[in-house]
């Protein structure tokens, strides 16, 4: 209900959310989070607050702890130090309204279930009666453009289709937060851009908070309200960068804006330091 009002508010005001700080109370907050695997310190002193409806992207060189950070946020693993709280409560187990889009979609889908049955899993888990599932599944599949492939098994779908299916299944959880781990890493450029725009429209439609890990600097700028740049060994926040680009974003014009290019330059220099 409040979410709906919030959304309405935003629509009426018709102002693109500018800086993260203006975007309501923090939904997720990490304070002094650190993680050590055996003798390997992976993350140190991570402090971030993520507001409701915010789109936060994470970049950083390979092995700097991006995936680990996402897993801590999700509650799949626990931090060794510091606190992770979600809606003011400590995050101990995955919450039912946090969805994860895994990088390896081929492993995350149930290969013995068709596309619609895979989406159904999330609805079954939420206890939705069978009679209501059917319509919801059709709606979700059409949202990600898979209506025609409802009865295909994952093995009969292309990589892009499988990733879209995983996204549909995550949306079926009716999440308030979506955590995505390099979701488009294995896709070709065209599919990738299409899915970027789909994600943006889904997220803005339902005021979902997004945490998005990527290798692709331009993708981070294009999607995010903020970009977290992690530096490695141990993984720390090097910079928190606001992205002041207007929404809705556009694959052609947004990417040509001077701010976009300036940010790209800045992130590029950052990454070069660790090559």
């Amino acid at each position: 209900m409040t979410a709906t009002l919030h959304r309405l508010d935003r629509k009426l005001a018709n102002t693109p959310p500018a800086s993260a700080k203006t975007k309501g109370k923090p939904l997720i907050s990490l304070k002094g989070v650190g993680l050590t695997f055996g003798s390997n310190e992976v993350l140190r002193d991570i402090d971030v607050e993520i507001g409701e409806g915010e789109f936060v992207c994470v970049i950083g060189p390979s092995g700097c702890g991006k995936t680990t950070l996402l897993r801590i946020l999700s509650g799949l693993i626990q931090a060794s130090r510091g606190t992770v709280s979600y809606r003011g409560k400590e995050q101990r187990e995955p919450a039912s309204d946090i969805a994860i889009v895994f990088q390896d979609y081929a492993n995350a889908l149930l290969p013995w279930r068709t596309a619609s049955q895979n989406v159904s899993l999330a609805l079954e888990a939420a206890g939705m009666p069978r009679a209501e599932r059917r319509d919801r599944i059709a709606e979700l599949l059409s949202k990600v453009g898979l209506s025609k492939h409802a009865d295909k098994f994952p093995s009969e779908m292309s990589g892009g289709m499988q990733q879209r299916l995983q996204i549909a299944r995550c949306l079926a959880q009716n999440p308030s937060v979506i955590l995505m781990d390099e979701p488009f890493g294995a896709l070709d450029a065209m599919t990738r851009q299409k899915l970027q725009d789909e994600i943006l429209s889904i997220v803005s439609e339902s005021n979902v908070t997004a945490f998005f890990v990527t290798h692709d600097l331009e993708e981070a700028i294009y999607l995010g309200d903020r970009v977290i740049a992690l530096e490695p060994n141990p993984g720390r926040i090097a910079e928190l960068i606001d992205v002041p680009l207007a929404r809705p974003r556009n694959q052609l014009t947004t990417r040509e804006e001077p701010e976009f290019l300036a940010l790209r330059r800045k992130l590029f220099d950052f990454v070069l330091r660790y090559e």
Partner: protein, 257 residues
């Protein structure tokens, strides 16, 4: 595979069967092997027809099939349930697996004397023998299948907050199904062998007893008729299991030809 290619394969295998039968007849006719030991397919077939007409054939076959199937079903239920319990919990694996490894290499025929002591020369003894022998492939493949569920699927289950029952029923069991089906198939073969062995030991009817008695009386055609029936049972059950496998595993990508 196209249906035309299927048909070609079927024809080819049929041809091979026919060729073998002819070869068998030829060997028998030449008389290299005494007719007492090796009847031709003609005499074996005559024995089959005789027992078919008297109704004895299907009674005996029915007894053997019943023992095989009941023993195998018991073994499947026990094997899958126990395997699931062990496979899903790392703790159970470390506690129970060593004991299993100790019992597993025992040849099933070695427990026959033990089973006879407790159950006598009875039907139940045969069932125990069959179940004991065929439970292992089911148990081991189920443990393997359950403990090899991709960790990502476990995480999917956690993120969706599935309960233990849902995790077993919706994730682990279907994920382990290819392994389990392999175990079921192996188990069924062993079950047929042990049903016959049990019948030979106890002489409680069935094809095993028939073959044993025929051998004692030097009725070679009857032995061969019994062996042919056993072959048919094996063939039919295998075809049935293959059909089941196709149905349950139709999600698997077709193997490249």
């Amino acid at each position: 595979m196209t249906s035309r290619a299927n048909l070609a394969w079927l024809l080819a295998s049929l041809l091979v069967t026919i060729a073998v039968v002819f070869f068998w007849q030829w060997i028998a006719n030449t008389g290299y092997v005494s007719r007492v030991f090796l009847p031709g397919p003609d005499r074996a077939f005559a024995a089959l027809m005789r027992d078919y007409n008297s109704g004895k054939l299907f009674t005996e076959m029915g007894e053997t099939v019943l023992r095989m199937v009941v023993g195998w079903l018991v073994a499947s239920i026990v094997g899958i349930a126990l395997g699931a319990a062990i496979g899903i919990s790392p703790l159970a694996r470390t506690w129970i697996a060593p004991t299993l490894e100790l019992i597993r290499p025992l040849p099933a025929s070695a427990i026959a004397p033990v089973a006879i002591v407790f159950l006598g020369m009875t039907d139940n003894m045969i069932l125990l023998l069959v179940a004991f022998g065929s439970v292992w492939p089911m148990l081991l493949t189920t443990i393997h299948g359950f403990s090899n569920v991709h960790p990502r699927l476990d995480e999917v289950a956690r993120v969706m907050r599935l309960n233990t029952f849902e995790r077993v029923y919706k994730i682990a069991l279907p994920a382990a199904m290819p392994d389990i089906l392999g175990g079921l198939r192996l188990g069924l073969t062993i079950a047929l062998i042990l049903a016959v062995v049990g019948e030979m030991i106890t002489v409680q009817g069935g094809l095993g007893s028939r073959i044993l008695l025929a051998a004692r009386a030097f009725r070679a055609p009857d032995i061969f008729a019994g062996v042919i029936m056993l072959g048919l049972i094996g063939l039919v059950t295998n075809v049935a299991l293959t059909a089941l496998e196709r149905r349950l595993l139709r999600w698997q990508p077709a193997p490249a030809h």
